[in-house]
Subunit: 321 residues, 2 copies
Amino acid sequence: MHSFESLSDKFNEYFSTRHFPVKPASLYDPADYFLRLGGKRVRPVISLMANELFGEISEDAYAVATAIELFHNFTLIHDDIMDKAPLRRGMQTVHEKYNESTALLAGDVMLVVAYDYLNKIDRHYLPRIIQLFNKTAKEVCEGQQLDMDFEQRQSVAYDDYIEMIALKTSVLIAASLQMGAVLGGAGVGNQERLYAFGKNLGIAFQVQDDYLDAFGDPSKFGKQVGGDILANKKTFLMIHALEAGSSSQVRELTDMMHSNPPDKVKRVLSIFHDCGVDKWAVDLKEKYINTAFQHLEDAPIVSVRKQPLQKLAQFLVQRDY
Amino acid sequence: MHSFESLSDKFNEYFSTRHFPVKPASLYDPADYFLRLGGKRVRPVISLMANELFGEISEDAYAVATAIELFHNFTLIHDDIMDKAPLRRGMQTVHEKYNESTALLAGDVMLVVAYDYLNKIDRHYLPRIIQLFNKTAKEVCEGQQLDMDFEQRQSVAYDDYIEMIALKTSVLIAASLQMGAVLGGAGVGNQERLYAFGKNLGIAFQVQDDYLDAFGDPSKFGKQVGGDILANKKTFLMIHALEAGSSSQVRELTDMMHSNPPDKVKRVLSIFHDCGVDKWAVDLKEKYINTAFQHLEDAPIVSVRKQPLQKLAQFLVQRDY
């Protein structure tokens, strides 16, 4: 069994080849540029880890892991256009470095190349893998659309937010695990357990992300603490504060979203503390991570084989950066 | 054997179902809206015609034809964003009716749904069909990127323009024919002949398109004659005039691209006439259509079966609207 770190090294070696033709450079260099910005490669590596639960990691698993990472990067390039984000991992986004049209096309062609990798696998598995991949791809698009829809709304119900986050971030982690399992010859039960493990893990991960943005240690977090608050983002924390706060607290939060006072981060954080949002978020994360672990535990697989996945999951939701 | 018209009716019946989930409507209604703007459906129907060359049209051929039409519409939605086009078939484009982000996502999800249809076919054919589809999809993206690159250039060589047009418009027609042939069980030779037929037909079609924009009958053409001239588009006609014109004619054409005088269309057309661009374009179209027909003729298939394709090809390059 490989640890996340050693599998990351193996995957990065596999992934570091050029995935695109040389010409026209005006299209393919921007796509290649974005991949070279790096990333933790959590989704492909977790897919390989799921594959290894059932035996030796197959060539097909590497191809599917590559397709997953290309798909994820395609969504990032297009999301950056939609969000008008100037930076990604501290470097210029594709539309910023080149232009929007090129970023749009570079994303499109990256999605097509993802299917090239899927198409490398044994045809016995191909229809099932494409079906899972496509279901997930549609869901990720739906999540992004809902996220944009929510930005236009005054308030978002907690359940709607969970649904959006699940679509936008969790289902890809879940499907990465499931696809690895499918290629390992797992039965439907184990496929479903790994999917449920990933889906709950993904939500816990997002809770942690929202938590760190508000309560993280600036020296470790690496980005501005309170960024979500300044951008009026409807995070887990804000949605809970709006549901749990007193009417005067809710009014103050709502007013600040429109007036953007200079001490907004400090005042919002103070309301978060008064409403117990920090404690609530830690508990919520625990709830999801425990559910995730339960699903993994339920899988009838020798427990020593599950350890790398458990360690990775712990790391993802306990990181403080 | 079916005529183009009767196969169009059959395809439209097949295609007129809803291809997307209902929710979220904010994502899928825009995608559905665009498909309901209609279109000639040339690519899917020509694919079915190629399939029928080799026997009865299969269910797989309908699925692939649908994927082709969805892919084509995905490119149109994204092209419209890049071109900032307000109208498509006389109706609002997706980004104009909704917004750019939604148009971007609606296009993305349409591409994914295209692969859903490919995934319906017999797994025996699936890897080969995806391989052809993906090669073509990348080429279409390359063609669009080259088209944008050329807009920034002072001049474009004739051969570069042909390459761009082939990528942007011909290869999809060519691959539509080839995929229909593959599903009909055609051998490699016939696949290649049909591909070559489609590729040359596509270029002839584009020459005709450029020709009509300059020399078409306004009462039949349905859009403003001289639109390409006003937009300083580097069409077949303009590229030839810049290559064949005298130095003073070339200077006048180049000057007008920058100064945009009110009588620009009239003056450019007059230079086109003086350089014999109209006659040249008609000859060029004939050259490509003859090459196309030769490839079709070379296919060892009973000639009566080829008649619908021949009729369609004649129609596409002789239309005056």
